[in-house]
């Protein structure tokens, strides 16, 4: 078994190699079959769930990231309440659009990667360091992306050195692009970004930024069938994460629900926002 932790005696060499604090590097030696990038794919196209729109907005005291709740397989809705935005660690969040199964696996690996580094080194990676690690993981997925199993993340966090919220966008080759005010990925991102472009102002407050993201997701769902709008009958709202100098947290359902109610109320009289 590849992931044999050496129960029959000595510590296996990968476990005691000094100098490496990367979990995925260790996994590549100890259990390569667990790494998403080490898999060989048969040819052909398969229908699997896809996650869609993620938005992020920088505000005066940090950054907000939000994602809709829909996953689709072709023209079908695969899941109504999928979660695509996650806490990466205490000061960063990651949202993923694309092949849902791979995306969730990649987020899990990324979370362990950050915590592993912190435990091994005794201090937390810089925000740029975290963004670069994510780059490397996306690059490792390139061959799967070429077969239609692309994963495109959006990463945001609070930079404790610079004292500000920052957003990083990616392409499928692992290219990393810092965005200074707002960004969106996924099938509805064109509409979400246009909405943000018209409404965003420098120095918005945290509460205004939350409303901006919910508004942008509403606009994305309005025009993109793969993006889910707020589900008023079931009470399913977007996942909204906030990162400030106090850390990263998920906004409670009732707080997001109140913002959704305001947005929907406004659209009753002015559907275009």
């Amino acid at each position: 078994m590849a992931a044999d932790a050496g129960l029959h005696g000595r510590l296996p060499p990968h476990f005691t190699t000094p100098g490496s604090s990367s979990f995925s590097e260790f996994l590549g030696h100890a259990a390569p079959d667990l790494l998403p990038s080490h898999r060989e794919l048969p040819g052909g196209v398969i229908d699997v769930p896809h996650g869609t729109t993620i938005v992020a907005v920088v505000h005066a005291s940090g950054v907000i990231m939000a994602g809709d709740r829909r996953a689709t397989i072709g023209n079908l809705i695969a899941q109504r309440d999928i979660e695509k935005v996650f806490l990466a660690d205490d000061y960063s969040v990651v949202g993923i659009a694309g092949t849902a199964g791979l995306a969730v696996e990649m987020v899990r690996l990324f979370q362990v990667e950050l915590e592993h580094y912190e435990k091994m080194e005794g201090h937390v990676l810089s925000l740029d360091g975290k963004a670069n690690r994510l780059s490397a993981m996306i690059r490792g997925n390139l061959s799967m992306a070429m077969q239609g199993l692309a994963v495109v993340p959006l990463f945001a966090g609070f930079d404790l050195d610079g004292g500000l919220g920052r957003i990083f966008g990616y392409d499928i080759t692992g290219g990393r692009y810092e965005e200074h005010s707002f960004h969106s990925v996924g099938s509805g991102s064109t509409f979400a970004r246009s909405a943000l472009k018209k409404r965003y102002r420098n120095g918005v407050s945290e509460a205004e930024a939350v409303k901006l993201t919910v508004d942008a997701l509403y606009d994305a769902a309005d025009d993109d069938s793969a993006t889910g709008g707020p589900d008023l009958t079931r009470g399913i709202w977007p996942v909204v994460m906030s990162v400030t100098d106090a850390g990263a947290r998920r906004l409670p359902e009732d707080e997001v629900g109140a913002v959704v109610a305001t947005v929907v109320g406004e659209r009753m009289t002015n559907p275009g926002g």
Partner: protein, 235 residues
């Protein structure tokens, strides 16, 4: 042709044990004490960077005495073991019992097969939802593993410290009381005199069962001084 001298297995093991024990006794002691909300680790360690006490996983911590490079290597292996297990299965499937067994196998095999044994003694601790679920394992250089309750004293001048802690420690006390008892025990010299250990001389950390996911936290700076009752006037 010269024949090597015959050495009996008993003598060989005894020599290795003596060697390891001497190495471990040279360092300073580290104490592990249960308190009402978790498990406290405290040791004399003037360095802020070279730790004897570390986080392994959500509810699991590691404390060691002996040769730094050796236990640091074991600590790193433990973090890798735990993160691999947690990634492969689920976070709650990583247990201190599994880790202690893994360490015991590794230490035991090394002790028998290698010329020089590890000069280390370890504690693997885990906090549960309530105190009855807490687990404490002590591992020695030869791979022996023992489950302990309420407290463990390792390294340095451990016997008199152990006697003192055994007489005075109560696992239901608060963190503050447990810490002060621990520091008092560490500051006693074999000849009966006592030194003063300030916050700067100590390394202390807790596994706090009331913390949401990662129970491990270091006690640093002002918080440590406050708990020790040594608050400086400037803070």
């Amino acid at each position: 042709m010269t024949q090597p001298f015959y050495v009996s297995p008993e003598q060989l093991m005894k020599d290795k044990s003596d060697y390891a024990r001497k190495g471990i006794a040279r360092g300073r002691s580290v104490l592990t004490l249960a308190y009402d909300d978790g498990i406290l680790f405290v040791g004399e360690n003037p360095s802020n960077a070279l730790h004897k006490i570390s986080e392994i996983y959500d509810r699991i911590a590691f404390a060691a005495v002996g040769k730094y490079n050796e236990f640091e290597n074991l600590r790193a292996a433990g973090v890798r073991y735990a993160d691999l297990r947690g990634y492969q299965y689920a976070r709650r499937d990583v247990t201190s019992r599994g880790l202690a067994n893994w360490y015991a196998q590794a230490l035991g095999t090394h002790f028998v097969e290698s010329g020089k044994p590890y000069e280390v003694e370890l504690v693997v601790a885990e906090v549960g939802e309530k105190q009855a679920d807490d687990q404490l394992y002590r591992l020695t250089y030869d791979g022996s593993v023992a489950e302990e309750h309420a407290f463990v004293v390792m390294g340095g001048n451990s016997e008199p410290i152990g006697t003192y802690v055994k007489e005075h420690h109560d696992p239901t006390v608060s963190l503050e009381v447990a810490l002060q008892l621990g520091v008092h025990a560490l500051s006693r010299s074999p000849d009966g005199t006592s030194r003063t250990l300030a916050a700067d001389d100590l390394e202390a950390a807790v596994l706090d069962r009331t913390r949401p996911r990662r129970a491990f936290a270091r006690l640093l700076g002002p918080r440590l001084e406050r708990l020790l009752g040594q608050e400086s006037s400037s803070t």
